[in-house]
Amino acid sequence: MVPTSYYVLLSAILFTIGVLGVLLRRNVIVVFMSVELMLNAANLALVAFARERLAVEAQVLVFFVITVAAAEVAVGLALLVSIFRTKRTADVDEVSTLKG
């Protein structure tokens, strides 16, 4: 059996990579993908703790997170498509109309 702490370690590493993706990349689609990576890292930690505590409820929570993430991706990508249509760019630095 693999100790839970190994999974938590892996989850922390993946989450950090996701954060770096959001901070470093400027392609809006890659930024969005990094957000998904962070969600997955959090899910992994949840499932690891669920096994340690034998709590099926945590698996239910992960199921809900995955479903809502699917809805979020659909709406987010639709937003990206309509931004791209009006601005003709996928660079987050170019989308600064709201900047004061």
Binding site: M1, T4, L14, L37, R51, V56, I66, A74, L77, V81
Partner: protein
């Protein structure tokens, strides 16, 4: 045996994530993220959550990544980062903060008291998808229905956002 499988899968997952971060082409990023999602689904199997393994493969690796690839190719947004960063100090600061986050989360994550992983009858019942399904349709029935409503709203939102010939 489990430990060997874990380490192989962990290396694949981290490689996929790092490659997603550094590859310049968005299509390559999406494919590396697919690799990472598949590795995480194997992790779910190792954590005795077979239902989540199936959900991860069909929803994340299947539906979501197809959506990503489709949008990347539809927009032709594979490469946009030719110009240098507008904020010069953003990159080193991001690396520094990322490192700090990693250290903090590792310390917090490993700091708690750990109990040895359970084995035997209790684990077998835990890994049975039937117990998850029973919980989903009894105790968590209302959240389940709300999730269905959220998906409906997502469908309506996508249709409204991508209507042609109408300004929003």
């Amino acid at each position: 045996m489990d430990l060997i499988l874990f380490f192989i899968t962990a290396v694949i997952a981290i490689t996929g994530a790092v490659a997603m971060l550094v590859s310049r082409n968005a299509v390559h990023s999406a494919l590396f993220l697919l690799l990472n999602f598949t590795a995480i689904s194997v992790m779910y199997l190792l954590l005795s959550a077979p239902f989540l393994f199936a959900i991860q493969l069909t929803v994340y690796a299947g539906a979501i990544m197809v959506l990503f690839l489709f949008v990347v190719m539809l927009l032709g947004a594979e490469k946009v980062e030719d110009a240098p960063d507008r904020i010069a100090w953003q990159q080193p600061l991001a690396l520094l903060l990322g490192l700090a986050l990693l250290v903090v989360s590792v310390v917090v994550g490993l700091g708690g008291a750990t109990t040895p992983p359970p084995v035997g009858e209790a684990l077998a019942q835990f890994s049975d998808p039937r117990s998850l399904g029973a919980l989903l349709f009894t105790e968590y029935l209302l959240p389940f229905e709300v999730t269905g409503f959220i998906l409906l709203i997502a469908v309506i939102g996508v249709v409204v956002l991508n209507q042609r010939g109408r300004k929003i």
